[in-house]
Amino acid sequence: MPTDADASDEVLMLGYRDGDAGAFDVLYSRHKGGVYRYLLRQCRNTALADELFQDVWMNLIRARAGYAVQARFSTYLYRIAHNRLMDHFRRNNPGNVSLDDEAGMAVDEPAAPRSFEPEAGADVREQAAHLLALLDALPAEQRAAFLLQHEGGLSIEEIATATGVTRETAKSRLRYAMAKLRLGMQAWQ
C-alpha cells in the first residue's frame, strides 16, 4: 500500500509500526531538521548532535512495536529527544543538571514585552546570528521551551509533557525565554 504523504504523523507512525517502511521515510523527512536543531542548540556540538540524533531515531525505530497513539507524534518524538539529551547531561555532568529549577529566570523582564521588528533592509543573517547568540545565552530549560515551540511546534501543554514538568512551569520557562529574546532583539528594531 503506498504511503500517503499527507497523512498525519500518528497515522504514519502506526503504518510504520505495522511494517510500512515508506511511512517512516515521510515521518523522518518531516521532523529530522527540527529534532536535529533542537539537539544541536542544546548540546552546542555538531558531532555530539549527530550522535544524539541517531540515538533518538534508533530509539524510535526500536520502540515501534509498542507505539500507541496517546499524544501527538511530535510530542512523543521530542520527549524521546529530550530524555536522550538529559541522559547525556547527567552522564557527563552529574549533579549539575537542573531540569526543574528556575535558575536564570530572575531577569529584568520588560514591563511591556514588545515584538521586535527587523528594520527594512537590515542584514537578515546578522539578525539570525544575533538571535542564536541570545538563544545560546538562555538557561537550558528556557532554551528547551523555546526550541520545542519553534522547532517541534508544541503547545505549552505539550512542552510540559515533553519535558516532564507542569504546565505552569513550562509556561513560565517559555515566557522568560521569549522576554529575554525580545529584549535582546530590541536593538534591531
Binding site: 510500512d20 521515510d25 529530522k32 539578525q127 539570525a128 538571535l131
Partner: protein
C-alpha cells in the same frame, strides 16, 4: 486583532520569522541514509513483537495471581509439615514418610507405602547394641556401702576426677585383665588423696596421739571401711605415721615385699602429705 499577553508570549511571528531565517542546519546526508536503512532493516526483520503496553495490561494481574497462589501453597506446605513433625514428636513409632515425598495423596496409599518403605530401612538398632562400651568400662564393681556414702558426700565431680571414662574404656578394651586386677586392688581402699583433703576433719574415735596430726590423717570412718582381710595395717588405724613406717620397715626386713608394698600404698593414701623415706619406697 486584540492580542492577549499569553498569545503574544506563545507566538511571536516576527521572532519566529527571525528564528526560521537562522535555522538552516540539517543532519548529514550519510546519517539520514543510515537511519533510513536501519528503519528498513527493522521492518524487514519481521513483524513487530508483541506490544509491551499490551503485555503490561495483563502483567500486573498475572503477577498478583502468582503471588496469591505461591502464598497459599507455602501456607499449606507449612501446615502439612507442622502436622508431620508433631506426629513424629508425639508418636514413638518412626514418622511416616511424607505424602509429597512419596508422590501420593490419600491415606490408604500412604499407609501402603509406609509398609513398603519402612522394612527397607535399616531397623533402628537397640540402644545397648549401639553403645560402644563406655558404660561397661566406667562401671566398677559395686562399691561397699561406705564407698556409696563417700560418693554422696564428695559429689559427682570428685567421682569424675577419679575415673576418666575415655581412658577407662580404652583400658577396658585393651587390657581387661590388668584393669580388673587393678580395680580389685583399688576397690576396698580409701579415696584418692585429693578426695581425702576435701573430706571433713577427723571425728571422734581417734586417739590422743593422732589428734595432733589430724590434719594429715584420714578419718577413722574411712579406715573402718577397709575390708577385714587387710590385717596388715588394721592395728595401725589410729597409729601415727611413724608406726606405719616402722611396720613397713619390719615387713621389708622380713622379706615380705608384697605386704610391705601393700602397706606403703595404704600409707600413701592415708598420709599423702607425709614423707616416705627412700629406703622404704
Amino acid at each position: 486583532m486584540a492580542v492577549t499577553p499569553e498569545t503574544e508570549m506563545e507566538r511571536d511571528p516576527r521572532l519566529a520569522a527571525a528564528y526560521r531565517a537562522a535555522s538552516g542546519e540539517e543532519p548529514p546526508a550519510q546519517l539520514d541514509a543510515a537511519i533510513r536503512a536501519a528503519a528498513r532493516r527493522e521492518v524487514d526483520a519481521g513483524p513487530a513483537r508483541p506490544s509491551m503496553a499490551r503485555s503490561r495490561n495483563w502483567g500486573v494481574p498475572l503477577s498478583l495471581a502468582a503471588v496469591v497462589v505461591l502464598s497459599v501453597s507455602v501456607v499449606l506446605m507449612m501446615q502439612q509439615e507442622g502436622a508431620d513433625r508433631l506426629e513424629s514428636l508425639t508418636s514413638p513409632v518412626p514418622a511416616k514418610p511424607r505424602a509429597a515425598d512419596a508422590g501420593i495423596g490419600n491415606d490408604a496409599t500412604r499407609s501402603q507405602v509406609v509398609e513398603e518403605v519402612l522394612p527397607q530401612r535399616a531397623p533402628a538398632p537397640a540402644p545397648a547394641a549401639v553403645r560402644v562400651e563406655p558404660p561397661k568400662a566406667v562401671s566398677e564393681p559395686a562399691p561397699p556401702p561406705a564407698a556409696k556414702q563417700r560418693d554422696a558426700e564428695t559429689g559427682l565431680r570428685a567421682l569424675e576426677s577419679r575415673v576418666d571414662p575415655a581412658t577407662s574404656a580404652a583400658e577396658a578394651d585393651n587390657k581387661p585383665d590388668e584393669l580388673k586386677a587393678k580395680r580389685e586392688r583399688e576397690a576396698p581402699t580409701a579415696p584418692a588423696p585429693s578426695l581425702l583433703r576435701s573430706m571433713p576433719a577427723p571425728v571422734a574415735g581417734e586417739s590422743a596421739a593422732g589428734a595432733g596430726r589430724a590434719d594429715r590423717r584420714a578419718p577413722s570412718g574411712v579406715l573402718a571401711d577397709a575390708p577385714a582381710k587387710d590385717a596388715l595395717w588394721r592395728d595401725l588405724v589410729d597409729a601415727p605415721p611413724e608406726k606405719w613406717l616402722q611396720r613397713i620397715d619390719e615387713l621389708r626386713r622380713a622379706g615380705k615385699v608384697a605386704d610391705a608394698a601393700a602397706v606403703v600404698a595404704e600409707f600413701r593414701r592415708r598420709f599423702p602429705a607425709e614423707h616416705l623415706p627412700e629406703g622404704l619406697r
